[in-house]
């Protein structure tokens, strides 16, 4: 299971990386915005994408739309972990095809629950 973590803050990437490791996912890479993430996703054979929303360059929402529009990536499970809390935004993310939405600040238990739920659905 290879996972890409996208967040503009290195501290948040590190927290998510640690939590994923505790859940048994040790194969993770990091990117700091959509522009860096997209080429990695296209060439890197990732199984799962965890992304923030608000980032300089390409936002996580645009990244989600780009992933869904790409034939080789459109089935990639995407979990959004973000401080964006407007109802309209959550609805927009759902319509754009997000698989899970975790609002910051979050707990390890919530992240675990959402990831497990996504994998249950896929299997």
């Amino acid at each position: 299971m290879k996972i890409l973590i996208v967040d503009d803050f290195s501290t948040m990437r590190r927290i998510i990386k640690n939590l994923l490791r505790d859940l048994g996912f040790t194969n993770t890479d990091e990117a700091d915005d959509g522009n860096t993430a997209l080429p990695m996703l296209k060439s890197g054979k990732y199984d799962f994408l965890v992304t923030d929303w608000n980032m300089p360059g390409m936002s996580g929402f645009d990244l989600l739309k780009a992933v869904r529009a790409d034939d080789s990536l459109k089935t990639l499970p995407v979990l959004m972990v973000t401080a964006e809390a407007k109802r309209d935004q959550i609805v927009a993310a759902a319509q754009a095809g997000v698989n899970g939405y975790v609002v910051k600040p979050f707990t390890a238990a919530v992240l675990k629950e959402k990831i497990e739920k996504i994998f249950e659905r896929i299997q």
Partner: protein
């Protein structure tokens, strides 16, 4: 209603000597027109305009001074020579906020370094303790050969030694994590200063808007103000006072409810 409250603000904005002068000159103007002295009336109209301009300039001057002072007073109290040196290099609010980002980032990374160092130590202690416990149970069930017992004896001895050392390591990491939180004191001060500056500027801006509306009223200017819709697509960051707002979720439970109502 709005007009009335605007009028009140205008009266509060003008100084008594100015209003006195206006009243005096207006009466004189009225008199000159009544008596057909138009040349004198024209002079008076010019003077009236000057009174208006001068009170405006005075207000603008006062605002500029106050803004300037707010910015100059925006200094933190450094308590040590080292702090003084660091803080004297920062002269504006954005530098200060960048300093907050840097300090909080450093503290977060220091904390995570220590946590990442301690986790394997705690894991090793746990693994050795549970392995020893299994051996211990075998001994209690009298399933152990004398040679095995001698080995266990030594292993328990080693475990006690390493347990003391590992507990010390974890304890010192924890107290360093505690110390890494000292950024809160400095960043708290910086943020409070920035907040005060923003509030001051906000108040001055408000007075400026009130003054500008005064000028608009005198000159009969009407502004077309278009409210701009900010797109949330690029992301707008954390929301304040989420509990009081309808358009914002106040936590993960709200998110889950919303998504399940959409059939998720």
């Amino acid at each position: 209603m709005d007009r009335m409250s605007d009028n009140n603000k205008i009266h509060r904005g003008l100084e008594p000597e100015v209003t006195e002068k206006l009243r005096h000159q207006a009466a004189e103007l009225n008199q000159s027109i009544e008596s057909g002295d138009y040349a004198r009336a024209m002079v008076l109209i010019n003077e009236l305009g000057e009174v208006r301009d001068q009170s405006l300039y005075r207000e603008v001057g006062r605002l500029t001074r106050t803004l300037h002072e707010s910015i100059r007073n925006f200094q933190i109290d450094p308590r040590s020579a080292e702090q003084k040196e660091v803080l004297s290099m920062m002269t504006d609010a954005s530098d200060r906020l960048a300093y907050v980002v840097q300090m909080t980032g450093q503290a977060a990374n220091r904390t995570m370094d220590l946590v990442e160092e301690s986790m394997p130590v705690a894991n090793a202690v746990r693994d050795e303790a549970s392995a020893l416990r299994e051996e211990w149970q075998r001994l209690r069930r009298r399933e152990m050969q004398p040679a095995e017992f001698r080995e266990l004896y030594g292993r328990i001895d080693d475990f006690f030694v390493s347990l003391t050392k590992d507990a010390d390591t974890i304890y010192s990491s924890l107290s360093e994590i505690l110390l890494a939180q000292d950024f809160q004191d400095l960043t708290g001060q910086v943020i409070q200063r920035v907040t005060t500056l923003v509030k001051d500027v906000e108040e001055q801006m408000l007075s400026l808007v009130v003054m500008a509306s005064h000028v608009d009223q005198l000159t009969g200017t009407v502004h077309q103000i278009d409210s701009e819709e900010v797109s949330a697509e690029q992301g707008v960051g954390p929301q304040m006072k989420a509990e009081e707002r309808e358009d914002v979720v106040s936590g993960q439970n709200d998110v889950d409810d919303l998504l399940s109502s959409l059939g998720f």
